[in-house]
Amino acid sequence: MILTPEILAIFILNSLFLFFGIIALILSIKIYSKWDLNSTKSLQYKLEKNSYLTSTIIKFIFLIKLPLFLFFIFTLDKISNILPGAMCAAGVVDATPYGMYLFLVKIINLYLFGFWLILDKIDVENEKLPYSKLKFGFFIIIFFLFLSELILETTMFLSIDPTTMVSCCGALYSSTSASYISILFQIDPFILVSLFYTNFVLLIIFYFYKNSYIYAILSMIFIIIAIISLITVFGTYIYQLPTHHCPFCFLQKDYYYIGYLIYSTLFIGTFYGLAIPFFKNISYYKISIFFIIAYTLIVTIYPILFYLKNGVWL
């Protein structure tokens, strides 16, 4: 077990989230099963009152959880200094069998929590509260993913053994890696980069055509291609090392914390892209394309600068 002030802060917050989350779950089940907006009976008035409380609890949990994702990455980075062999967060993620699952659940939850917050916003902006039943039903479902995240996070931090040697990111993210990550390096970088920019151009085209479903599908594909191409191609230009492919190292001070900007633009851009067909909000196109263009510009600028400086591609 490893206990740093950051992990302690995460544990305390997780306990609070669990406590309030369970209260919100119980109230959500009650509201979801008995909600009848047209009723003027005392039960419905009580549920309406409860719904404000429950929404507020959930909203605060999710609003704190979203930026806490960055804090989680920061914590992993910080504790990599005390784990033998670890050079960055990648080593910590690989230190236990739970790390990668936790990461995946966290990313999925980022999107789901964001969806819930938008649903809540639209609901309370309408005097007829049209999505109340839906949003509490949705919370009941995502609560279990939220709970999985808390359990995985706690288990991961409790299972880290600071005396055991872990792999460094150079070994984990390479073509010789024993894990499934090595498959990524079998893809031709030229094809990958072509796919990335084709996807980007298609997003721009469908931004103008305003086809929400195609735009959302392209956003979904963009997340996957963007992350793979970041690991296999663009990352190497950030590090200026052809053999270094870690998706975590550029979150460190040595690289001016550029990773936080890279991931934030990618997640925000694709989140709003995925949200368009559900919420039919035309302004989401603008937010989405703005962040996707920002992401593309950031990752593109590194190879161009490298080429201008050295006259070769990696």
Partner: protein, 223 residues
């Protein structure tokens, strides 16, 4: 049109102690009516006013104002409804004692951030109408009861609300000032305002311009 359909309001003081303030009340008030709600203290008059004003929600039943079910509105929509439709006159005036007459009157307009010229025009017009313009820069705690009441009326009228609600408006006034207040009510009714007054002041019971006097006892309409 204001409709109270099968309204019951129970205040839960704690788990084993609750007070039924209003029980299964039905009431229809037409636009432009002046309604007097009379009854002893604790009979449920103020609760009815609060329900119409959207200050509280019923335990059961529905309050409808101009075809809108206001008892079903979420809180922030209720605030908007109150700001746009309701003018309040309270027994203790509820003015801010350290602000001037002018600042107290314009308070309901502040959230709308109106243009200064429009604001000043409205203010001047309302103060002249209720003969308080000569005191506009005086701090309200230095005013007499009658003057404070007039400031409260100005404040309730500055948004030009359709409905005016007055809860025991003359409880702190002497007879002359109460009669002055009744004159103001007559004037407001003449302007087409819907006025609902909760009172046990006998001066109100035989007003020739009142549309209806409703007797409330133990949370029920007697007559």
């Amino acid at each position: 049109m204001i409709k109270l359909n099968n309204i019951t309001k129970i205040y839960d003081i704690n788990k084993n102690n609750s007070v039924t303030a209003v029980k299964d009340i039905n009431l229809h008030i037409k636009d432009g009516d002046l309604i007097i709600l009379k009854g002893a203290s604790g009979s449920g008059k103020s609760t009815i006013l609060s329900l119409i004003a959207g200050l509280c929600k019923p335990t059961e039943g529905k309050v409808i104002v101009d075809e809108k079910g206001i008892s079903k509105l979420p809180d922030h929509f209720l605030s908007l409804y109150r700001r746009e439709n309701i003018g309040f006159v309270f027994q203790k005036y509820n003015l801010i004692p350290n602000l001037s007459v002018k600042d107290n009157i314009i308070l309901p307009l502040i959230p709308d951030n109106p243009d200064e010229d429009i604001l000043n025009n409205k203010l001047q017009e309302i103060m002249e109408r209720f003969t308080i313009s000569h005191k506009k820069d005086i701090i309200v705690r230095n005013l007499s009861g009658g003057e404070q009441q007039r400031v409260a009326i100005c404040r309730s009228m500055i948004n030009n609300p359709k409905i005016i609600i007055a809860d025991e408006p003359t409880a702190n006034l002497d007879e002359k000032l109460s009669l002055d207040f009744i004159d103001i009510l007559k004037q407001l009714k003449g302007n087409g305002k819907t006025i609902i007054i909760a009172t046990h002041d006998p001066l109100f019971f035989n007003l020739d311009f009142a549309s209806k006097t409703i007797d409330i006892k133990n949370g029920k309409i007697i007559s």
